[in-house]
């Protein structure tokens, strides 16, 4: 296990180097033109300003040197300042709590509703409830997130007036529930299906037959033997998706006007403030990769049958 962990961590290094290089290259090299061109209102920027900014952000250096500087800065925990000289770390500190709240709520909804529905429909395979759940998940899977978002916003916020159509500043937990449902909807459907398949598959397993043959009460067979073993793929799926949720928050945050990391990233892309885009995107990638790694390691803990060499 220890050796496997170390090997996986070492494998992460080239992937991280590759993704950060890719991000840096795309953001700084692909757009072309001068990123400071439209930064001074209606009049063109003074030469001295452009020269000073170009100098400050090292844009005259060759690209490999820029990337090397970026790497050393990030490794020292220095994310730099944006084009308005605000430290990027401050912007992230402002935005991150909201997004983490939103993601946690979404994962909680996914886990509770998804696993709950999946277990019930898996145990009653082929019944009316099972078929309705299958159709329900089918519909959830085919609704793009922004369609779900606008539908709920229109019905609950505008027609019925139960919720605020947009989330107020500070983002209290209660106002984040509906956006979290929207963010969770797609993965909730996946979780439900995964749980169902897992339950149906394990129901035929030898250990379940043994437990039934021993005369254990059904509650114990389901609760102890079946559920625990069926949870393994579901838990790993949920774990992987935490990382992806942070990226998916871009759309949800936009619809409900939440000032989180997704809004920060998307706004910075629109303003072409690449000094914010690169570190925030890097942060999201790191969270995503670490979540994946953690899940991989957890897999071995949850399922002793899996052995890493």
């Amino acid at each position: 296990m220890g050796r496997y962990t170390i090997r996986r961590l070492l494998q992460l290094i080239p992937v991280l180097l590759g993704t950060t290089f890719l991000i840096n290259f795309m953001v700084w090299q692909l757009p072309g033109g001068n990123p400071f061109a439209n930064r001074c209102g209606d009049r063109p920027c003074p030469e001295a300003f452009v020269a000073a900014m170009t100098e400050q952000f090292g844009l005259n250096d060759p690209f490999w040197l820029q990337y090397l500087k970026y790497l050393t800065n990030v490794l020292q925990g220095n994310l730099g300042v944006n084009f308005n000289q605000v430290p990027v770390i401050d912007l992230i500190k402002l935005a991150y709590p909201t997004t983490i709240k939103l993601a946690l709520l979404a994962v909680a909804i996914e886990a509770v509703v998804g696993i709950g529905l999946g277990v019930i429909s898996g145990l009653k395979k082929g019944g009316f409830f099972d078929s309705s759940i299958t159709i329900f998940t089918l519909f959830l899977l085919s609704l793009p997130v922004f369609v779900t978002g606008f539908t709920l916003q229109w019905i609950l916020g505008i027609q019925l007036g139960i919720i605020n159509p947009t989330v107020s500043a500070g983002a209290p937990w209660s106002e984040l529930i509906v956006p979290a449902i929207v963010l969770a909807s797609l993965n909730m459907a996946f979780t439900t299906r995964l749980t169902r398949t897992s339950i149906v598959e394990n129901f035929r397993a030898d250990y379940v037959r043994t437990a039934v043959a021993k005369g254990l009460p059904r509650r114990r067979v389901v609760g102890i033997h079946l559920l625990r073993n069926s949870a393994i793929p579901v838990v790993t799926f949920l774990g992987t998706e935490i990382g992806a949720l942070m990226g998916g928050a871009i759309v949800t945050e936009g619809i409900f006007n939440i000032t989180g990391i997704g809004g920060l990233l998307f706004g910075s892309i629109g303003r072409r403030d690449y000094t914010v885009v690169v570190p925030v995107a890097t942060l999201l990638v790191v969270v995503y990769l670490l979540a994946n790694l953690l899940v991989d390691l957890l897999y071995g803990v949850l399922d002793p049958r899996i052995r890493y060499e």
């Binding site: 080239p14 993704t19 991000i23 793009p144 369609v147 998916g248 892309i269």
Partner: protein
């Protein structure tokens, strides 16, 4: 981006198994493909999705069959007029007919969904086969390259690439805009196909019939195309059909965010994005494109579901 491509590829995705069933002699036991086809034929979901897809594909190729109106014709005095007998779905912000624009919007979604799948499968299978067949450092290299592209969350990666590529284009035409979206989506999704192709190939690589072919002196090309690929195709087909719907959904999301398809192209995502500010006053302008988009994705998801349950023996 010609239409025959659409028909052809959609036909392969939907009915590829049909041709397989007629190939082996009738005396032999049923092959996986015959089994799958028999299984598929019994599912109502499969036929419903096929019917829906047929409608969308006809809509994509011949939108004129459904509407006689010009989707680009705009009359500002009709801006945001609600649905009426003259215009079933009402008018949008520019005073264009929402019904006509929704019908014409099918083309972008179908083209993006189908071509992205084709491109992602093509690149993914080539990379997966190269890695799985060659093994050693080639395998490590292709796997690591794939991991870099999967390492970026899908939506984030697409937004980053598209928003940085877009400013570089001067007045692009509809074809170029669509092509860029297709390429970006497939660049980010080929590693998933490659991973599945590779593991599927590895599972049959040491089968007796492959060793026998090798012992008889078959060339690597013959082994790959005659033995390895046909026997590792099922999981690739499953993932290809399932992901087609998600590509359409992704395209709509990106267009909605303003980084995917743009103005000269008519797309459901753009129509929805253009009218988000009028949610309270003119719901119809975004309601109908949303419904069409969801039903189209639903059709592809249902097809993927049906194909998977037919090809995956574990689910039977």
């Amino acid at each position: 981006m010609s239409d025959p491509v659409t028909i052809q590829t959609a036909g392969v995705a939907a009915g590829g198994e049909v041709q397989e069933t007629t190939a082996p002699g009738s005396g032999k036991p049923r092959s996986l493909w015959q089994d799958a086809w028999a299984e598929l034929r019994k599912q109502p979901l499969f036929w419903i999705s096929l019917a829906l897809l047929a409608v969308f594909i006809v809509m994509a190729i011949f939108p004129q069959l459904f509407t006689g109106k010009d989707p680009a014709f705009a009359e500002l005095r009709r801006s945001l007029e609600p649905p009426s007998a003259a215009a079933w779905f009402g008018y949008d912000l520019q005073g264009r007919d929402v019904y006509a624009r929704t019908i014409y919007g099918a083309r972008a979604s179908v083209v993006v969904g189908v071509l992205t799948t084709v491109l992602a499968v093509l690149v993914g299978v080539i990379m997966g086969v190269i890695g799985g067949f060659a093994g050693g450092w080639v395998d490590s290299l292709t796997s690591r390259i794939g991991e870099i592209f999967i390492g970026v969350p899908y939506l984030l990666g697409a937004i980053l690439i598209l928003s940085t590529v877009a400013p570089a284009q001067e007045n692009p035409g509809a074809v170029l805009i669509t092509a860029v979206v297709i390429i970006v989506l497939s660049v980010l999704s080929w590693p998933i196909v490659a991973r599945i192709a590779r593991s599927s190939l590895l599972s049959v690589k040491h089968a007796d019939y492959v060793l026998a072919a090798r012992a008889l002196g078959a060339s690597p090309g013959r082994i790959i195309f005659r033995h390895l690929l046909p026997n590792s195709l099922a999981p690739i087909i499953v993932v290809a059909t399932i992901s087609m719907g998600s590509y359409i959904s992704a395209e709509a999301t990106l267009s909605f965010l303003g980084v995917g398809l743009r103005a000269p192209v008519i797309s459901w995502g753009i129509a929805i994005a253009d009218h988000t500010d009028y949610l309270r006053t003119a719901l119809h302008a975004m309601l109908f494109p949303s419904i069409f988009l969801s039903v189209c994705v639903l059709a592809f998801v249902m097809l993927g579901d049906a194909v998977r349950s037919a090809l995956d023996p574990k689910l039977r």
